[in-house]
């Protein structure tokens, strides 16, 4: 075990953390702004991965697949919000949990009807197919660096939209006082439909990015979902900064856990969450409700 080995693991951890951040930031937006617990978020990740596989197959280009897939994901998000989620804003979390749990069943079954139960792969696009040599026998795939770069770009873009634009202002205002924003004449329904679609698109985008490194298989969203919830809860719901810190923490713990303590790796993530919640019951950056 030499330094470069740990460097590779560190890069992997950061890349995994970034992917988690994409999924979890959507979750935390939905929760913080709309008060919605969305268990189906993992399904949107899966939808993204399958769209990437399907459209790459159809068009022959991974880039074209992303370009075509994102509007489809936005559309799916919009329809789900209009026909299911929008009825639940005033209801107890319990009903949101149950309805989105049922959505998982529906999405899993739709995925099997549309794409079958086989495991698929997506080829890494040619420009990014190589790897960078680190030492004589260690190298790091460029595509994984690309994932991290894309996630950083998205994160910066999100920061810019939320902090600097009028839309972001409405979103932030909606998060802190929904009724007041409505009273000021902003169409909260449209705003929420937009935010939900955006969250769905983020999850789908993460799934698309992950498709070439991780294979595309039924139920792939469920592991991501639960880990993303852990991230959100560790960071504190509604806090993008907290989500980022949580995602990196989980990325590090689970990647190094797999290397150093393989038989305990899956448990460690949850144990970390339990310890953090014991210390800060509202997460690292969360405020009391």
């Amino acid at each position: 075990m030499e330094l470069s080995f740990y460097l590779v693991q560190l890069l992997n951890a950061v890349q995994y953390g970034f992917l988690l951040f994409l999924v979890a930031s959507g979750l935390t937006l939905l929760f913080g702004i709309m008060g919605i617990i969305n268990l189906a978020h993992g399904s949107f990740y899966m939808v993204g991965a399958y769209l990437a596989y399907w459209l790459t197959d159809l068009t022959g280009s991974f880039w074209l697949a992303i370009l075509l897939g994102l509007p489809i994901a936005l559309m799916v998000g919009y329809l789900v919000e209009r026909f299911a989620i929008s009825f639940l804003y005033q209801r107890d979390h319990l009903y949101q949990v149950l309805l989105t749990f049922a959505l998982i069943l529906v999405f899993n079954e739709l995925q099997q009807i549309l794409w079958g139960t086989d495991v698929h792969g997506v080829v890494i696009p040619e420009i990014l197919a190589g790897s960078i040599p680190l030492t004589d026998n260690q190298s790091y795939p460029i595509y994984r660096l690309f994932i991290s770069a894309a996630c950083i770009a998205i994160a910066c873009g999100m920061y810019w939209v939320i902090q600097k634009t009028r839309l972001g202002m409405m979103i932030r205002a909606g998060a802190s006082n929904r009724e007041m924003v409505q009273a000021l004449g902003i169409d909260v329904n449209r705003l929420f439909a937009f935010v939900f679609s955006l969250g769905v698109a983020l999850a789908a985008f993460a799934g698309m990015l992950a498709a070439p490194v991780d294979s595309v298989y039924p139920g792939m969203g469920e592991n991501v979902l639960i880990i993303s919830f852990v991230v959100v809860v560790i960071g504190g719901t509604g806090s993008i900064k907290g989500t980022f810190v949580g995602a990196m923490l989980i990325g590090l713990v689970s990647t190094f856990g797999k290397v150093l303590l393989p038989e305990m790796a899956s448990i460690m993530v949850y144990a970390l969450m339990a310890v953090i919640l014991l210390w800060r019951p509202h997460g690292l950056f969360g405020r009391a409700a």
């Binding site: 009903y95 038989e263 919640l277 409700a289």
Partner: protein, 331 residues
């Protein structure tokens, strides 16, 4: 009179359940045993969701622990004495509920939902990745528990009918136990906590203590269900504790009607029967199941059993020729 009318279906259902093995074939007795066990599981969750206001998304952990305690302790035994195995499972589930509850109850809302889920996932992965306890294959049990006095076998659970009546009596006694608990001052306090925890605290009650006790009772009853399922099916595996199991359990409570005790039992009947018969209809039966659950959440949030008093009222009103709608009281 109205109380009698309202409890009529309950008594009729109980009578039907008691008489069922006289008419049903062994397959259906086995299926009904399974439904009864799952109903007990859902019933225990109702104490948390429907009465204490704690949305636990990790209830399957206790169900699994009840089963695993039985399987681990008695996998190589030549005989499984019921009076040892049952208390062991209950104690294991109760202890786990005490620890998980102690940690989880400090949080609320979405944090409570997520931390109970995370705790259950921890147990899931512990058993999933431990070769000592069978990993994802789980543990097989080739014997059924026996109730003995001295060297005399009083109740052998290897006969389907015996197991059926044993499970049914567990369900009925758990139901009665919960009815009693909810009528006691303790029950009034937890219902008050669900309605408004701040006020209850302002009245001087230590609410977290009450919530923890409620959590432990529910966990122990879930452990009883897990014990029964492990003994009945003859194997225990990590899927007992999967988050799907917890999700389906919530679905049963809501589908039947939460905060009623009998609702979750009805919900268990509906869900297990759907799980059993929908696959015969179509390969993609989960689509239908999901659709049904979504429809219930959107259009029937108080569950299937909320239809009965509504229909009763409707009939009564149409008989009297009354028009004005009457709000049915909750309890």
């Amino acid at each position: 009179m109205s109380a009698l009318i309202r409890s009529m279906p309950l008594l009729a259902a109980l009578l039907a359940l008691v008489l069922f093995p006289q008419f049903g074939s062994e397959y259906y007795v086995g299926l009904l045993t399974r439904i009864i066990i799952i109903a007990l599981f859902a019933l225990s969750l109702d104490l948390l969701i429907g009465y204490t206001g704690l949305v636990s998304f990790g209830h399957a952990a206790f169900y699994g622990i009840g089963g695993y305690a039985l399987a681990i302790a008695f996998q190589d035994a030549s005989v499984i004495p019921l009076w040892q195995a049952l208390p062991l499972s209950l104690a294991a589930a109760a202890f786990a509920a005490l620890v998980i509850g102690w940690i989880s109850i400090r949080t609320s809302g979405i944090y409570f939902i997520m931390i109970t889920l995370a705790m259950a996932q921890m147990f899931f992965y512990f058993f999933f990745e431990s070769p000592r306890y069978g990993g994802d294959d789980g543990i097989f049990l080739f014997l059924k528990p026996v109730l003995m006095v001295g060297s005399e076998d009083i109740l052998k659970l290897d006969q389907e009918n015996n197991f059926y009546y044993f499970a049914l009596s567990c369900l009925v006694s758990s139901y009665l136990l919960l009815v009693m608990i909810l009528r006691a001052p303790f029950g009034k306090v937890i219902k008050a906590i669900k309605a408004n925890e701040h006020r209850v605290r302002a009245l001087g009650y230590s609410t977290s203590g009450y919530k923890l006790v409620s959590f432990v009772i529910a966990g122990t009853l879930a452990g009883l269900a897990g014990f029964l399922e492990g003994a009945h099916s003859g194997y225990v595996n990590p899927s007992y504790m999967s988050w799907h199991e917890s999700g389906v359990c919530i679905a049963m409570v809501i589908l039947g009607g939460m905060g009623t005790l009998y609702g979750p039992i009805v919900g268990a009947f509906i869900i297990v029967l759907l799980q059993n018969f929908l696959p015969e209809l179509t390969e993609h039966w989960q689509l239908l199941l999901g659709g049904i659950v979504i429809a219930v959440v959107l259009f029937l949030p108080r569950g299937a059993t909320s239809l009965y008093p509504r229909i009763c009222d409707l009939i009564r009103r149409s008989r009297r020729g009354e028009r004005e709608p009457q709000e049915t009281a909750d309890d």
